[in-house]
């Protein structure tokens, strides 16, 4: 049931989460919004590899990947200028790195509306701007 009306439609979005069930859930939601899902990938290394090879419009990044902080990924994303949303169960607690803490955050568990709003806010500002420029 893709929502064609979503502004997120057509975005290439990478999902980084160490838990397959969670990743599948996110994947489903993204597909519903018409996004092209890249991944998901469970580890930092794999995420960095994908980020190196693929064009990404946005990333959903779990703060904790198999017990490791995903800060390196966040730093890399920031460096690349790729917008990303941190998905975490830590709620509003401070995360391991400013790159994570300062990024838009999606607290687990989340519903569809929340998911779309957060992602739209995070990913579409740039896009709209670039679209405007493109026109």
């Amino acid at each position: 049931m893709p929502k064609a009306s979503s502004r997120l439609a057509g975005l290439r979005v990478l999902v980084v989460d160490d838990e397959l069930l969670v990743a599948l859930h996110i994947e489903t939601l993204l597909e519903d919004l018409g996004c092209e899902v890249i991944g998901p990938v469970p580890t930092i290394e794999k995420a960095l590899a994908v980020m190196r090879d693929e064009h990404l419009d946005g990333v959903l990044l779990d703060a904790n990947l198999d017990g490791y902080s995903s800060a390196p990924v966040a730093a890399d994303l920031r460096a690349r200028g790729v917008p990303f949303v941190v998905v975490t169960g830590y709620g509003q607690l401070e995360l391991a790195s400013p790159a994570l803490t300062d990024a838009p955050r999606l607290s687990k568990p989340f519903n569809d509306t929340e998911f779309e709003a957060t992602l739209t806010a995070a990913f579409c500002a740039d896009r709209r701007a670039s679209t405007t420029i493109g026109q």
Partner: protein
């Protein structure tokens, strides 16, 4: 005070005055000198041999100086120096001497260039060197140094001086010519003079010690160079040079003295300055300038009156007018020549050439007016200064006085303001000379008075420096002076005795009286007009009728012609005029004037009128006299017996008595005086025009009651020629009387006899009286002598007493001041001791109380009266102490002791006993002080308690405490701190805190706290720091720091209390992590559940299917969590995990395990594995081996590889179930299993649908380092 224009006097030799003073031959000499100087040249030697040679020489000198008369030839004298002077003076102006002129080159005549004579003595050398250093070498002046030199030693003076100047320096040899820009130095043991530019050395005639080389040279220099003679007096002892300066000044030269303040020996300069001859007082360095200024002035070259008299502007008259207005001194009588020359000289000193300029200086500088006035007067005291005036006095006053004086009378003179007595002595000498000349003996009384005691002291001594008197003619010098041992001349006693010195201020003290001469020279010029008036009035009063007044040359009696008549206007000699007034008569008249006035007041009574008529008619003419024949009352007609003689009116009966009555009057009165009641004598002579004999009756009046000495003398005509009782009669006389009428011849004979008798009688009486008088006179003279000497003694005693009194006054005032100071000090001390409330007791060496403060009364039963009693006698109100022993020890051994004592009142005192030292460091007792230390002791105890208390707390406390000094060194610390530091006290105290524990305290936070925050904030609480040291674990501390303000005795300290919060910090951190993790896991799980629900829902055809599947999956999830928790979040065995995961599906061993090893897995794998196994088992139950009754699932795994490469190969194999049909699409379960293995286990999984059963093969790595890593913030670094 004698100020004369001596030099001018010398110039103006008046013919009359000196001529009359000399014998004819001398007068001849003078005349000759005046008119024919050459004539006298040849006669000088002749005169010199005469006794008056010295006077001639003196005169000659003056003449030659005055008139420029040059005379050669020697004038021998008793005083060789006079010879030298005469010789010099005779050659003073050689240009007037023809024979000499040819041999004297014009360039070196006297006065060609200035010569500076420099006199010095002790201490003069360095000044002389300074002077020469400052003196340019081309000044055009010649310099001659005269010094006292040890005759036996070669002088180094010339060599020393030569180093100070580039001018050539020569030792003087006889006949050496002085040239400009050269320096000449005297040689020892010679007298140096200068004669027309040639230096002359002679053997000194004075004995050693009495030589005046400086005076001698200065005098010679003055005469040789006049205005170009400059005398400089430098440091030296004695008065040498002072007399010479007078000559320099007289001849118009200049005199400089070294400033006595800069002189090592200031005696010479001081004498010089005091003499008044010094023009400038300068330091050696300033002298050259002054010299140059002086010698460059026109005055020096040409001291002529025209120079200023012809000035374009002001004239000399203006100067004199100014002096008259400013100083009140009229110099109109002075010769303009002199005045202008002296004024010109002052101008040279002032450094101005124009009289206008000098007038300006005079106008604005009062001091210059005074200086000029003094210069015009030449304020010099001396014997016979201004000789012409003295000659005039001699002639006009002294001579007549001496002529007139009766033998045994006295000539009285008064010299007010006598200064040091020269003037008075001069008068005495003149009187003496005149008296000797007249061959008369008479008394001389000269009263010399002065307000200045020091002057009188010198005058009384009658000692004068040789230089003062050497100018006197030798005759006078020898006659009036004795040469003393030193260079002093002493007035001879015969002159000295005639002068009486007494302190008297002319203006305030009563004057003397009945003087024949008052010499008041140069006093008036210093006085204001009204004071002058007073002085002249006093002089008038003091003089007897006809007495003389002698004033100074610049003084006149002004408008007081009614008081004085002029004797000599030129020489200011006046004579008292005005009403005759005898003080004795005045007094008598005054005393008698009252009596008749008083009696006339009473109304005449009838009886008195009757008595008076009777008396007039019948009573004889009588006079009432006193025993001195002084008439007190006339009665009746006395003209027959008395007559007023010519001359002054008199009341002397004997004077009044007519010729012939004197003898009977005197005889009768004398008898009455001798005791007779009444005596009548008959006169032999006829009284007046009458031929009658006269009976003279003298009766004593008064009885015992009014015993007056009045005598009534009555005169009566002798009508009866009756013998009178009491008349002395002889038989021969009676017989003669019987024949009297018979013969006139007999009358004459009788009269002659009577007269003879009376004459004899009178002669006898006269002789007796004369003897008596002589005796009385002798007596009186001796009494007078005694009185005089007594008076002198009294004078000197008085003098001594006065000086003693003065001393005593001084001492007394000093003592008074000292006493006042002591009183102040005593008050201060008493107040101090009382105010300090320290009990203090002073004891003398015998342990008696000297003094004590009021506070002592609380320690001893003392009252103020107990001072002086032994301290041992008093009960002491304190327990111990041994005060007496301690005091004794202090006195004997100078021991100082201190002891705490307990008073009976319970107070504690510190008893301190010290020796009592006097100002001269003598031990005069002991001082005991009792200082109340009760409070101190209590406070000390409190402090000790508080300290113990604090220390106990500090030591007990478990938190580390450390006290730091201001420079952050450990002062002290408690045990907990040492424990924290793991170091002992020894290694800690004194160390800087940053150095402690291997520098682990050296951290920025602590530095911030201690060095920046604490100085500002005083106290800082709960400041956290982390200590990390290489070899010990991290520590978290909270610090409480407090600055403890120091006082004067203690610097600031820092108290640092710390609390080790490391443990708390750890647990707290761990807790935070757990909470975070819990949240993370719960929410993650929820998300998983959400995902499960979503995924399940999407693949479920119905809610029933969804419900079953979702429940199963939730349960699996739950079991996975059970597994994790059972494994306590740590490693988990694979077998346990599988069994747990498949527990719901296990029935009758349909699930079999084939494995060789158990494998320890990381907990995070359990969820994925459990879910994978759940999906496989669910599928088996639905469609596979477990769906039927017999199927079986075999699970096996094995470990492949080792270490990091170890992998687990896991097989799920179903068999015995229904035939497997390949599904049309891969279901969610299969898909999930395969993806999960890849995704969650990082392995490979494959589910195969074989016919005999589903077979799943999984292979995944076995992570060896499955470390549990929290994802939340743990630490910043």
């Amino acid at each position: 005070m004698t100020a004369t224009l001596a030099a001018d006097a010398a110039v103006e030799v008046r013919p009359a005055a000196p001529a009359s003073a000399f014998k004819p031959i001398e007068a001849d000499c003078i005349t000759a000198l005046r008119h024919r100087p050459k004539l006298l040249e040849s006669r000088v030697e002749h005169f010199a041999a005469t006794p008056c040679g010295a006077r001639v020489a003196d005169l000659f000198r003056r003449m030659s100086l005055a008139k420029g008369v040059g005379v050669s030839g020697k004038i021998p004298s008793r005083r060789p120096r006079t010879v030298a002077a005469a010789e010099v003076s005779a050659r003073a102006r050689p240009e007037h001497r023809k024979p000499r002129r040819d041999t004297d080159p014009a360039g070196v005549r006297g006065g060609a260039f200035p010569i500076v004579g420099i006199g010095m003595s002790a201490g003069g050398l360095e000044v002389a060197i300074a002077f020469l250093r400052a003196m340019p070498a081309d000044s055009g002046m010649g310099f001659v140094f005269v010094q006292h030199l040890d005759p036996t030693h070669e002088s180094m003076l010339a060599d020393l001086l030569a180093r100070a100047t580039t001018m050539p320096v020569s030792r003087i040899t006889d006949g050496m010519r002085v040239e400009p820009n050269r320096v000449y130095v005297i040689v020892p043991a010679k007298t140096l003079v200068i004669e027309h530019g040639l230096l002359r050395l002679t053997e000194p005639t004075e004995p050693r010690g009495q030589r005046h080389p400086i005076d001698a040279f200065f005098s010679a220099l003055a005469m040789d160079r006049t205005t170009k003679a400059i005398a400089v007096i430098l440091s030296g002892a004695g008065s040498n040079g002072t007399a010479g300066l007078q000559d320099i000044k007289q001849f118009g030269g200049m005199c400089i003295a070294q400033d006595p303040k800069t002189a090592k020996f200031d005696s010479m300069p001081r004498h010089a300055i005091n003499s008044g001859a010094i023009d400038l007082v300068l330091t050696a360095e300033m002298m050259p300038d002054a010299l140059r200024r002086y010698v460059d002035h026109s005055y020096v070259e040409s001291p002529k009156p025209e120079v200023i008299a012809t000035g374009p502007g002001a004239e000399l008259g203006d100067v004199l007018a100014l002096l008259r207005t400013r100083g009140g001194h009229d110099f109109g009588a002075y010769k303009p020549n002199t005045l202008s020359r002296r004024t010109h000289r002052r101008m040279s000193l002032a450094g101005v050439e124009q009289l206008d300029d000098y007038m300006a200086i005079l106008d604005r500088t009062p001091g210059e007016v005074t200086a000029l006035t003094r210069d015009l007067l030449i304020n010099v005291t001396g014997f016979f200064r201004d000789p012409e005036a003295w000659d005039a006095l001699d002639m006009e006053v002294i001579t007549p006085l001496v002529e007139k004086v009766e033998p045994d009378q006295s000539i009285r003179a008064w010299v007010p303001a006598c200064s040091t007595g020269e003037e008075a002595y001069t008068i005495a000498m003149l009187l003496h000379e005149r008296g000797e000349a007249a061959g008369k003996r008479f008394g001389v009384k000269i009263f010399a008075t002065d307000p200045a005691e020091h002057n009188l002291g010198r005058a009384r001594k009658g000692e004068f420096p040789a230089s003062m008197v050497e100018s006197l003619p030798a005759g006078r010098l020898a006659r009036f002076f004795d040469k003393g041992d030193d260079d002093y001349y002493r007035i001879k006693p015969k002159i000295r005795e005639t002068v009486m010195f007494a302190p008297q201020n002319l203006l305030t003290d009563p004057p003397y009286s009945r003087m024949d001469l008052v010499s008041c020279r140069n006093l008036l010029i210093y006085l204001e007009p009204d004071a002058q008036e007073r002085v002249l009035s006093l002089a008038h009063f003091a003089l007897r009728e006809g007495g003389y007044l002698f004033l100074g040359n610049a003084e006149t009696i002004g408008q007081r012609g009614h008081l004085f008549s002029t004797v000599s206007k030129r020489w200011r000699i006046y004579r008292r005029a005005g009403p005759a007034r005898s003080p004795t008569l005045d007094v008598r008249a005054w005393s008698l004037r009252d009596a008749p006035t008083a009696s006339s007041k009473a109304a005449p009574k009838i009886a008195e009128i009757a008595l008076r008529s009777l008396a007039e008619r019948f009573a004889p003419a009588s006079v009432l006299i006193d025993p001195n024949f002084h008439v007190l009352h006339f009665h009746g007609l006395t003209e027959d017996y008395l007559s007023q003689p010519a001359g002054a009116p008199t009341l002397d009966l004997l004077s009044l008595t007519r010729e012939g009555l004197r003898l009977p009057v005197r005889g009768a009165v004398r008898k009455v005086i001798e005791g007779a009641r009444s005596v009548t004598l008959r006169s032999n002579a006829k009284g007046g025009a009458k031929t009658d004999r006269v009976l003279v009756t003298a009766s004593a009046l008064g009885d015992a009651r009014n015993a007056s000495d009045l005598i009534l003398v009555s005169f009566a005509k002798d009508q009866g020629a009756a013998p009178v009782k009491g008349l002395r009669r002889t038989p021969r006389a009676a017989a003669l009387q019987g024949r009297a009428e018979r013969s006139a011849e007999r009358d004459f004979q009788e009269e002659l006899n009577t007269t003879r008798d009376e004459l004899r009688d009178t002669i006898e009486q006269f002789e007796t009286t004369n003897e008596e008088l002589t005796a009385a006179n002798e007596e009186v003279t001796s009494i007078n002598e005694e009185l005089q000497s007594t008076n002198e003694e009294l004078e000197s005693s008085k003098e001594e007493l006065q000086s003693l009194n003065e001393e005593l006054n001084t001492v007394n005032s000093q003592l008074e001041r000292k006493v006042a100071e002591l009183e102040d000090a005593g008050d201060d001390l008493r107040n101090l001791l009382t105010g300090s409330e320290i009990a203090t007791i002073f004891l003398d060496v015998r342990m008696r109380i000297k003094w004590f403060t009021p506070a002592v009364k609380s320690l001893f039963d003392l009252i103020d009266k107990d001072v002086g009693r032994p301290i041992g006698n008093f009960t002491q109100k304190f327990t111990n102490g041994g005060l007496v022993e301690k005091a004794q020890a202090a006195i004997d051994r100078l021991e100082t002791s201190e002891e705490d004592i307990l008073a009976d009142t319970g107070q504690r005192y510190l008893l301190r006993v010290l020796p009592y030292r006097t100002g001269d460091n003598r031990i005069a007792g002991a001082v005991a002080t009792f200082i109340d230390i009760t409070d101190l002791k209590a406070t000390q105890a409190q402090i000790a308690d508080a300290r113990d208390y604090a220390e106990a707390i500090v030591e007990t406390i478990r938190d580390p405490l450390v006290v730091l000094t201001a420079d952050l060194r450990v002062q002290s610390a408690n045990a907990a701190f040492y424990a924290l530091l793991e170091a002992g006290r020894a290694k800690t105290v004194g160390q800087r805190i940053y150095e402690l524990g291997g520098g682990k305290w050296n951290i920025p936070q602590l530095r911030l706290l201690l060095e920046e925050m604490l100085p500002l904030q005083h106290q800082i609480s709960d400041f956290e720091v982390e200590l990390a040291a290489p070899r010990s674990e991290r520590r978290w501390l909270t610090l409480n720091a407090r600055r403890i303000e120091g006082g004067q005795n203690r610097p600031d300290l820092i108290l640092l209390a710390m609390e080790d919060i490391s443990a708390r910090k750890d647990s707290s951190h761990h807790q935070d992590i757990l909470i975070g993790e819990l949240s993370h896991r719960v929410k993650n799980t929820l998300t998983v559940v959400q995902s499960l629900a979503t995924q399940t829902l999407r693949r479920s055809p119905s809610l029933e299917v969804f419900g079953e599947a979702f429940q199963g999956r939730l349960q699996a999830l739950g079991r996975a969590h059970d597994t994790i928790i059972e494994g306590n979040w740590r490693g988990i065995g694979l077998r346990d995990l599988v069994e747990q995961a498949l527990k719901p599906f296990q029935s009758a061993d349909r699930i079999a395990y084939r494995q060789s090893v158990d494998v320890e897995l990381q907990p995070q794998l359990s969820l994925a594995l459990t879910m994978i196994l759940h999906e496989l088992a669910t599928n088996a139950v639905k469609y596979g081996a477990l769906s039927g009754a017999v199927g079986q699932v075999v699970i096996s795994w094995r470990l492949e590889g080792a270490g990091a490469a170890a992998r687990v190969a896991f097989d799920w194999t179903e068999r015995g179930g229904p035939v497997v049909k390949r599904p049309t699409h891969r279901g969610h379960g299969v898909n999930f299993v395969e993806r999960s293995v890849a995704y969650d286990l990082n392995g490979e999984g494959k589910v195969e649908f074989a016919a005999e059963g589903v077979k799943a093969v999984m292979c995944f790595p076995l992570p060896t380092a499955g470390i549990f890593t929290p994802a939340t913030v743990e630490e910043s670094d």
